[in-house]
Symmetry: C2
Subunit: 223 residues, 2 copies
């Protein structure tokens, strides 16, 4: 793992454990990371507050951008729709899928990177444990990577922009084991789709998190 000391990078942060682990990995690799957080009308602000706490703990500058997706199209945005609550993650695309969310997030990250001269964009996407979202697949990220070269001044000048998805092939338990080594403050992360005081333990996201900690043989510091 080459050390990229001082090279600027953008890191997308959702408040969850994957993106937090990704940030700490980028830092470990020597990148000078900046956080990018979105307030996009999700059900609760708890994950935004978590993302901010993680940036502060990691001592990196960050931006919180408010965007509006008035067409909704997701149970995370349309509070009239039920959240999936199954002990076993279903097949197909879950109702929590937000149309083109990663494309929107990555396009802002691309703009940020281009404006400050950063060559690297980190996103904590994971295709293994949660393959229902089309925009979490390796082929999707490869396509965005190709787009990024054509979309930018950097690309024209033959200075690559890299979309980095270091967790994309890891299992949740492997991510957690990696994060424990990196001393990721998992007590600050938030995974539950509900924004209540305690995690619900029943939504897809809680189930995945619990399974990950259990398989990693680590106690979830949030519980």
């Amino acid at each position: 793992m080459r050390n990229k000391t001082g090279r600027r990078a953008i890191c997308l942060l959702s408040g969850g454990l994957d993106s937090a682990t990704t940030l700490y990995l980028a830092k470990k690799q020597g990148f000078k990371a900046r956080g990018l957080i979105f307030d996009y009308g999700q059900r609760h602000k708890k994950e935004i507050l978590s993302a901010r706490r993680i940036c502060r703990a990691a001592k990196i500058p960050y931006e919180i951008l408010k965007i509006r997706l008035p067409w909704k199209g997701s149970s995370l945005l349309d509070f009239g729709l039920a959240l999936p609550r199954e002990k076993k993650i279903g097949r197909g695309i879950p109702s929590t899928y937000v149309p083109a969310r990663n494309t929107i997030f990555l396009s802002f990250a691309l703009s940020y990177a281009e404006a400050i001269g950063a060559a690297d964009i980190f996103i904590g996407a994971n295709a293994l444990d949660y393959s229902g979202y089309p925009d979490c697949r390796p082929a999707y990220f490869r396509a965005f990577h190709a787009l990024a070269q054509l979309a930018t001044r950097r690309g024209i000048e033959h200075q690559k922009i890299r979309i980095r998805t270091p967790l994309v092939h890891l299992k949740k338990s492997e991510i957690i084991r990696l994060g424990m080594k990196l001393r990721v403050p998992y007590q600050m992360t938030w995974s539950c789709y509900e924004g209540k005081k305690n995690a619900c333990g029943a939504c897809d996201s809680c189930v995945l998190r619990a399974k990950g900690f259990s398989e990693a043989g680590v106690r979830d510091p949030l519980l």
Copy 2:
């Protein structure tokens, strides 16, 4: 030109004449268009008001989205930077280039299309008369088209999403001649980078517009 009667489409609108012509072309082709307008911190609101007037004139629903690009990186966003004022359009990427602007706009359009079941996204980009922007090149749109199939539920279900750039190979004068046939209300469009009462006549955008009307042999109804 097949008639696409009743098929939903998203049309990006900037308030300028290219996007207005694109909208009227989409309508002519039978699409049920919806306008998408961005308030992204540009120098003035005049182009947003123009875009809205055009949607109202065309009798289509529209959304105006406010987004923030705090990193700026463009003379359109950073009011401390000078606008290019040359009678001859310069070579290279002009200072008015906004990092990843089309990628951001198209990603929201993709989200909108996916959420309402639209298969077509229209953007009035033009590569001929203003080839300085990396994200106005045909190769860029081909890359976004490829991305769109991988990014969406529609793509997974093998229902294509099409990025339509009907003006990309036209000269400004050809766009204007087409628009005159389509009865585009050019008096409602706004091209000048400045937001004053009258167009400045000196910025790149004014110069291109004047050249286009002159070559088309049409009087600019805005003057």
